[in-house]
């Protein structure tokens, strides 16, 4: 990562409107705040109390300047011995001895005698300049660090001479075209004990190490940065095994791109409840509930589904070890092993009380920054409360969520609610506080009744989604989380065995009804048969009567015929003489 080397620097002219060039500071997160780094070719003052990280700051400026930007550097230590420096920084991943060997770094210790040296007349500090000059020339240094310049004040008592030489030094550094970081000890009422800030007009940074509520927090503040816009906040920073990390700035305004994309919760029927599509990408989701309600399982399911979609996930576990977590989740059908192997999911299990809130935040942001996941889960955030007060935890979460949103990362956070049954959902102030940061909120409940407890949840809110407000029962099966059908009894929605009983009742009812219908059907059939029989009988009777009638009529007719015939015969017989 070698940037092109600048041409030989000439003294920068200071005008009110000049645009100072900037040089990357090598401090993680600082360049974002300063808009590019430190003023190029000019001295920057870093002040702070003992143990604040000044020496580290100066050294990172130099060491990263070499390794990341190809700028040779010079480090002058007034107080630490060279071997100490080498040893201390080796543990941070800086092999100073190697850099010296490669002629990229000159590391020098300037001893200032603390004991009284007789000052016998006028003098100057030309020896310092000579040494500095030869060091810079030896490697063609572009960066210089002096730690700490105020040591001079303990070695020489003529302040007038000292101050005049300091003034000369800063001009000299500018003339040489090097960018210098000079450290100074924090003063009581001044930025540095001896007022070095008077000579450094361009950039003054203070480092702070405060202890509040027994939590140590480190903060960086840019007191002066001429010619540039910079945030005026104090920025928390962290010192970890690879140096200083300044936390990224939270957005000054709530300008996050809002995504339209929806992602599955991992539970299809829950997606249905969420307007049919699931959560918005980049949203913040809170899953809260009392102990044993299934929060971790829900979080795991969400993450599992995302990883299966090929999205990188980062899971912060504050409650148990990673292996315990994975074992538990395996029992409900989620095997994270192959996903971890593919690098799609990374777990980070930490005991919360081990670090301060700021440190946690820094670590998390660093990990997010390095891994660039699309989904982040934190389980549970409630384990952070012992470390700070409500406001601090909320502030930390706000920054975390902010950062995630700026990268369109969807965040799922679980929260353990207290066992207090206050109100319908057992809500409590801390939860209310945090919930306002969240776009969606699921509350998990154990529903008691009939002498048993069953799991249920409901969606309290889901911004921008027409969500169901049902209280749904769910179970943890070997195949994962399953939402169950809703059954309503006369008292409302039923759960657990009551639900099962109701289910059975309904089935039985249906069966009975079917039987009834069949029975009635059979009845009708037999009635019809009867009716048909009767009709047949009637027909027969009628037919018989018809026959009889016919016979009678026939007989009658034949009698009449006979009668006529007889009359005719008689008439014939009688030849009727009438």
């Amino acid at each position: 990562m070698v940037t092109k080397k600048s041409a030989v620097a000439r003294p920068v002219r200071t005008t009110e409107h000049s645009e100072f060039g900037k040089i990357p500071s090598g401090i993680k997160g600082l360049d974002e705040i300063t808009g590019g780094g430190l003023p190029k070719g000019r001295p920057a003052l870093v002040s702070g109390g003992p143990g604040c990280g000044k020496t580290l700051f100066a050294m990172e400026f130099i060491a990263r300047g070499i390794s990341d930007y190809g700028d040779p550097g010079v480090f002058i230590a007034f107080e630490e011995k060279i071997d100490d420096l080498k040893r201390n920084f080796l543990s941070m991943g800086f092999d100073l001895a190697d850099l010296v060997k490669k002629k990229k770094l000159v590391l020098d210790h300037i001893a200032i005698d603390r004991s009284e040296i007789e000052e016998t007349g006028e003098y100057d500090l030309e020896g310092l300049f000579i040494r500095l000059g030869s060091m810079i020339d030896a490697v063609g240094a572009k960066r210089v660090a002096i730690d700490t310049l105020e040591a001079l004040f303990s070695g020489f008592s003529n302040e007038a001479i000292l101050r005049s030489e300091l003034r000369r030094l800063f001009l000299w550094l500018k003339d040489r075209g090097v960018t210098a970081v000079v450290t100074g000890e924090r003063g009581d009422r001044t930025i540095t004990k001896y007022g070095l800030e008077e000579y450094v007009a361009d950039c003054v940074i203070t480092l702070d190490h405060r202890v509040t509520n027994q939590i140590a927090t480190r903060r960086l503040r840019i007191v002066k940065y001429r010619g540039s816009i910079h945030g005026t906040d104090e920025y928390p920073f962290l010192i970890s095994s690879d140096g200083i990390s300044v936390l990224p700035i939270t957005s000054i305004s709530l300008v996050h791109p809002a995504s339209d994309e929806r992602i599955s919760s991992g539970i299809p029927r829950l997606d249905t409840m969420l307007g049919g599509k699931g959560f918005y990408r980049g949203s913040s989701i809170l899953v809260s509930g009392q102990a044993g309600t299934g929060k971790t399982s829900i979080a795991a399911t969400f993450v599992y589904a995302a990883a299966k979609r090929g999205e990188r996930c980062l899971f912060f576990i504050f409650e148990e070890s990673e292996s315990q977590f994975r074992r538990n989740m395996k029992s409900i059908g989620m095997d994270f092993e192959p996903l971890v192997k593919k690098g799609l999911i990374r777990f980070h299990a930490v005991r919360p009380t081990a670090y301060s809130l700021e440190m946690h935040l820094s670590m998390m942001l660093k990990l997010i920054d390095g891994f660039r996941p699309r989904v982040v889960a934190v389980d549970p955030i409630s384990n952070l409360y012992p470390i700070g007060d409500d406001i601090q935890v909320r502030s930390m979460l706000m920054r975390l969520i902010d950062y995630a949103k700026s990268l369109q990362i969807t965040g799922l956070f679980t929260n353990l609610s207290n066992d207090r049954e206050t109100g319908a959902y057992g809500l409590e102030p801390t939860e209310m506080h945090v919930s306002s940061l969240m776009d969606a909120w699921l509350i998990l409940k154990n529903v008691e009744g009939n002498g048993e407890r069953n799991r249920a949840f409901s969606i309290i809110k889901a911004r921008g989604i027409a969500h169901s407000n049902q209280l749904r029962e769910f179970v943890l099966t070997g195949k994962g989380i399953q939402l169950l059908d809703v059954y309503k009894g006369s008292e409302g929605v039923l759960f657990g065995s009551a639900r099962i009983a109701q289910e059975k009742r309904e089935i039985a009812e249906r069966l009975w009804k079917n039987e009834e219908i069949e029975r009635k059907q059979r009845e009708l059939d037999s009635k019809r048969k009867l009716m048909e029989n009767e009709i047949a009988l009637l027909r027969q009777k009628f037919a018989r009567e018809e026959d009889e009638m016919r016979i009678l009529i026939g007989q009658d007719v034949s009698r009449q015929k006979e009668a006529v015939k007889t009359m005719k015969e008689i008439a014939t017989q009688r030849r009727e003489d009438r």
């Binding site: 200032i112 040296i117 007789e118 016998t120 006028e122 100057d124 020896g127 000579i130 030869s134």
Partner: protein
């Protein structure tokens, strides 16, 4: 002016082997021929002549010519005068105008 490394008058080069064992060796670090350096050298010569009675050797080291020595000998202020012998090593800074302080610093009070 005293060039680098040369001995001051008061002791002849050729008399080196006759240097008394308790001879003082004084080293004056300068950075070029600045007014302070010149003054310092003059003052030093005078003091030595007055108090050390030829039992001394002054070495002048010009750091502009030998910048490496600034680091090796840990010199910050200019001029710096170091008494190498007799031990213990003594160090004073300044152009040596304050004779009293020079004498105290070099521990010359005791020597006559």
């Amino acid at each position: 002016m005293a060039p680098e490394g040369k001995k001051a008058p008061g002791r002849n080069l050729h008399d080196r082997e006759h240097e008394p064992e308790d001879a003082w060796i004084l080293r004056l670090y300068v950075a070029g021929q600045t007014p302070n350096s010149l003054t310092a050298f003059e003052n030093l010569k005078n003091i030595c002549e007055k108090h050390l009675d030829c039992r001394y050797r002054i070495e002048v080291i010009d750091l502009l010519k030998n910048p490496q020595l600034a680091k090796d000998h840990q010199i910050v202020a200019i001029p710096t005068l170091i008494r190498k012998l007799p031990t213990p090593v003594k160090k004073i800074i300044g152009n040596l105008s304050n004779t009293e302080k020079v004498l105290v610093g070099l521990d010359l009070r005791k020597v006559t």
